[in-house]
Subunit: 233 residues, 4 copies
């Protein structure tokens, strides 16, 4: 299993927040966290668990250090302004199950398309690419990375259970996709988590172009869409 | 209907203009307002209605605070240099019908292609995407957003009537497309309007790639094009 | 014919060079003038004709004011360091035939692909797009712009004659394509020329996606390519 | 054979490192060196050979002068912190066989896709494009550039032998592709190497779009991928 036995020294919110904000703005600039999508976290303390995480609803192009708050191991706010992201529980699950030091959640066009197109098979296989060596512990391009795809839901208890099951069932995965939603990637620290996002998004673009070229891109069965205008929310 | 009961405090031109200019330059940088395309506005006062709007013909990559002027509820200039955009009446219509605090009009490659490809069906359905939760009042990805598509015209009275009809007929829409032309999106304030542009343009790229992959991208019936060179203007 | 009766006041090299350099770096940033491709000019004086033009072989990402020199109406250097671009004669032809104040020559992926795909028909028709209104003198999207496509050659006398013929034969054109090579666009001043590049490149991307979707993208008949490795220089 | 008889004056590490770092950050910004992919070098001294090269494992978006070290002609560190890239031997081979002053290795989406799609034919032919004139010594678009494709391996001795054979067999090549891995390009100095990367990556995008449009993009036979989840590393 891919854990971090020798974890790096942790840092206080005041050190982590500007680094997380810069990472978030860079992801927004690449179009991987448009609007208010995406949320970003890093571990402040292990025992008891304290997480620095972006507040809900903030535009990621304007993200600043003041947009991060500290939460406890149940996701309750300890310090800082605003409401923690609804998906804080997913971040906490990844931190616990993987021993991760940082978790980045992004929404790219490619991950949205691929997670739908490959969703029925439960995951996406990435193999044979040199870029895979950017993933921690991968020493050769002759590696097959299985990125599990979890169904999307607004029931965060269910999402947390599904994500936990996907992590336990795929102990070597470096990221997971929520269907029609986006990527969760993590690392022993923020730098490694950023690297994993870049590696996986790069490979999603490669695979996405192959899917398009081979006729495997397909729309979600859009029952609602056929129902016509203003179908409600 | 999606209105803004508790509207945020309004601001004078001197505060709004630099923010609008920065928003416009960012949209230009993404390729969503190339050349002089696009125009951007925000409400200065409600009663009587006063709007800050970009002047006509300015390059959006060089947009500065001095490129905005104040107009009254008929679109007549009150303060500032230059001529208000011809589409000022559309902005005023959106502000009145939706109670919007800001309106952003962009021209992207994707919205141009999709508004032609889906134009005959009168609108574009976006459903099942987590990114939809970036739209105000949308709490779940199990939402179907209907983006009405209005035929393009240079008759601004007709355009205004058609846009008003589309707004009244689709009270929950967060944006509308002009065919072969671009997107109008709005929000209770500039920040929300920007978020809506990013969310909708993201989903236009997702849908545009699905349209291309499934053979649904098609050119406008280009009668003129066949007529040969220099067909005139 | 599209000429500029009331031409704007001209400026000396010291004023034009930094503006031309900034325009060139912006075009490089968008990927429309990678490597040393592209060259950029503006008129310093009309009678006798003096042109400020980028020197040959400079990387467009590093373009600075010192990379421009003054040439006379035969393209001979008057002031500044380096060799004028080989395509200086084409710039001079456009300036003479159109009365242009600035000429921008770019090489984009889209113009390369489209100029090959549509090359046999002698030009590319762009019609029905609102973005066309960014071209000088175009007041409605119900306009058909014919962009002539001229065969590429390294014989600059022949290229000059072919470009002149294309300009005379298409008096309303705002730009022309060299096949497998790129775009020449111009305007009464640098700002207008930049706008025309953005408008045309935007529409090349729109048309390029339609060509790809409808199977009209095709490779140049690559006789040499089949001949195997290292077939010459 | 394409060598550099009149090589430019060499520079010490303190001068080369900031230029190499800036080049690397620019390549990362274009998405051609995401994560820790890519490595960059320049010659400090010829006799005996001393090379400045990026250290292993550094994020290319954060590359700074301190991330470069000096190595000898066997790739052993002489000065600076960190471990030289595993691919240092490939850089040294290119420097020796071509007399290059700088070598840039990038991983783009397009080079990954094309090197797989064209890999079985041993190389990629680029011909008829004006952009080819950005390659040193190429004076006309009627040039056919053969970019050899070498099978990827984690055995760096074998990779070095294969790269050397490809260089000897294609004395006029300006770059070579590693299959599923990326591009090596070089030049007499860093500026020329950067130009060659931009020219080749531009043409990879052109060809990549033609491959996609003509059904020639194809996935690697993904035997491992079918094996299901978590198939090892």
């Amino acid at each position: 299993m891919l854990t971090f036995l020798a974890t790096p020294p942790l840092a206080p919110l005041s050190e982590l927040a500007p680094l997380l904000a810069a990472a978030g703005r860079a992801l927004h600039a690449r179009g991987w966290a448009l609007g208010t999508s995406g949320n970003f976290s890093a571990v402040v303390r292990r025992e008891p668990l304290v997480l620095a995480i972006s507040r809900s609803g903030v535009d990621k192009g304007r993200l600043s250090a003041g947009d991060f708050l500290k939460v406890d191991d149940k996701g309750l706010p300890l310090e800082g302004n605003g409401k923690p992201s609804d998906e804080t529980v997913v971040h906490l699950t990844v931190v616990r199950e993987r021993g991760a030091g940082a978790v980045l959640h992004t929404h790219s066009v490619r991950s949205t398309l691929l997670s739908e197109a490959a969703g029925d098979t439960g995951g996406l296989a990435l193999s044979g690419y040199e870029m895979l060596k950017g993933l921690a512990g991968v020493a050769t391009h002759e590696h097959s990375e299985w990125v599990p795809i979890v169904e999307n839901t607004q029931d965060y208890d269910r999402m947390t259970r599904d994500v936990k099951a996907a992590l336990l069932g795929n102990p070597r995965a470096h990221g997971l996709l929520l269907r029609g939603h986006g990527l969760y990637a993590w690392g022993r620290d923020l730098e490694e988590a950023q690297r994993h996002v870049e590696v996986l998004e790069f490979l999603f673009e490669v695979e996405g172009r192959l899917y398009a070229a081979s006729g495997r891109l397909k729309a979600r069965a859009a029952g609602v869409a056929a129902g016509g205008r203003d179908g409600g929310d």
